[in-house]
């Protein structure tokens, strides 16, 4: 678990450092917006990564969809 966590932290830092050089090349007025979307995506990635690293038993997006569409699915299974 700790190895996975370390790998992930190193990955996040490496990606940040690389993308910082790329984003610096963009027009000044657009940089803050790019950074905003960048961090929103990184924060969204926390969820699957935490589930993976700590091997949590949390409902995944597929199970969430499965729960929503359960009535239709059971109707189909009955044929």
């Amino acid at each position: 678990m700790w190895v996975k966590l370390m790998v992930w932290i190193v990955l996040i830092i490496a990606v940040f450092l690389y993308e910082r050089t790329q984003i610096k090349k963009l027009p000044a007025h657009a940089r803050s917006r790019v950074w905003f979307v960048y961090w929103v995506i990184q924060i969204a990635a926390l969820w699957p990564m935490t589930v993976l690293i700590f091997e949590l038993k949390i409902t995944s997006h597929t199970q969430f969809l499965e729960n929503i569409y359960q009535p239709l699915v059971s109707l189909l299974k009955k044929k």
Binding site: L11, V15, Y18, E19, Q22, I23, L26, P27, A30, R33, V34, F36, V37, Y38, I41, Q42, A44, A45, W47, P48, M49, V51, L52, S60, H61, T62, L65, E66, I68, Y69, L72, V73, L76, K77, K79
Partner: protein
């Protein structure tokens, strides 16, 4: 002559349609359809043409009203800034979820059949590394790579279909023996896969000959459905109603081919087809997700988002299903409803209706002025 970097040809769009639908469905769809329609699964496969043509027609109609806007930009033109952006963003989420499913599917066959000792994450990382490279290279690279691999995919499909003729000994009778209800239910899952043709709405503004959009869409859908129907017929005629028991029926059909010393172990071709099909599909869905996001947030370039989104997409793929059987259930029963009841038909239909009503009311008569393009 090199095509400008943000323009794609009609053949490339045709190739994208075929490979996006056929890329992964050729291996799993026969099993899913036979589960509901039995020996009439081939009729269900034919019916999917209507799903594809209808979804494609909706998107092309929208494109004709807003010829410079992609599928995530069109809602903004029709519904206004914030509601439109929310709908556009929801399409990006749909592309991302579909992409993670494709990645998981890509790993499923490899970890189940070929490399059972290899952790799934290794396969996912390998796939994502190539996808990041292709997505950063831009749309033309995606389209050209797709065309090259599609030729290989189609060639391999036909080799396997022809070589399987010898093993086809199960009659596909009686036709509609249990009525039309199972056939119609059986057509839902493949119908949702064929309706993925809506993704063409993300590339139509960059098409060189925009007037051919409807023709390209229709020919892509019809060609794909014919190939899919042939695959279903061959799977049924070789494996019979047992097709539903197999996770990857076409792989098992290929394993049974033993014509002479040269024509055996054709299942290796399935691996090549699968890797090629998954790769092109993954690359394109990922590409439209990242470009869509940059268009929704009006960013000057999509490239800074490629690696973070790849991490998110790979992570979602890893947690999406515990094993291949779970994934098969999700793809056959849940994803079709998720796609068909929101993104593939009702949403484009609603957008088209509102756009037409607004035009009739005189509020939006002018064709759209140049949409912002940040496609590489």
């Amino acid at each position: 002559m090199a095509v400008p970097n943000n323009h794609i040809t009609s053949v490339q769009v045709f190739g994208l349609i075929v490979s996006q639908i056929l890329g992964t469905s050729f291996l799993v769809i026969p099993g899913t359809v036979v589960k509901f329609a039995g020996v009439d699964a081939w009729i269900s496969s034919i019916l999917t043409i209507f799903y594809g043509l209808f979804s494609g027609w909706l998107v092309v109609r929208l494109f004709r009203l807003y010829p410079n806007a992609t599928l995530v930009q069109i809602p903004e033109r029709i519904l206004g800034r914030w509601l439109g952006k929310a709908v556009g963003f929801s399409y990006c989420v749909f592309f991302l979820i579909s992409n993670s499913t494709v990645i998981r599917q890509g790993g499923a066959l490899i970890t189940t059949v070929f490399l059972p000792e290899t952790p799934l994450i290794v396969i996912v990382i390998c796939y994502m590394a190539v996808v990041i490279y292709v997505a950063k290279a831009g749309m033309e690279v995606v389209a050209r790579t797709n065309l090259m691999l599609l030729a290989l995919l189609i060639f391999s499909v036909f080799i396997i279909l022809i070589a399987s003729i010898e093993n086809m000994d199960i009659p596909l009778l009686p036709i509609a023996g249990e009525g039309w209800k199972p056939i119609l239910i059986g057509s839902i899952a493949p119908g949702s896969w064929v309706s993925q043709v809506i993704m063409v709405g993300m590339v139509l503004p960059y098409l060189q000959h925009k007037e051919h959009a409807m023709k390209i869409m229709a020919s892509g859908v019809i060609f794909t459905c014919i190939v899919q129907t042939l695959i279903t017929i061959v799977s049924l005629a070789v494996l019979g109603s047992q097709t539903e028991a197999y996770l990857f029926p076409v792989y098992d059909v290929a394993k049974l081919i033993e014509i002479d010393i040269l024509w055996r172990r054709l299942d290796v071709m399935i691996v090549v087809m699968w890797i090629a099909g998954v790769f092109v599909k993954m690359a394109f869905w990922f590409y439209i997700a990242v470009v869509g996001l940059s268009q929704v947030f009006e960013l000057p370039d999509y490239r800074p988002l490629v690696i973070p989104l790849a991490i998110l997409s790979g992570g979602l793929a890893m947690i999406s299903a515990a094993n291949a059987a779970d994934l098969s259930e999700y793809l056959g029963l849940v994803w079709p409803f998720f796609a068909l009841t929101i993104f593939e038909m009702p949403l484009p239909m609603l957008l088209l209706m509102i756009a037409l009503i607004r035009r009739r009311a005189g509020g939006n008569k002018k064709p759209l002025a140049g949409g912002r393009s940040n496609v590489g």
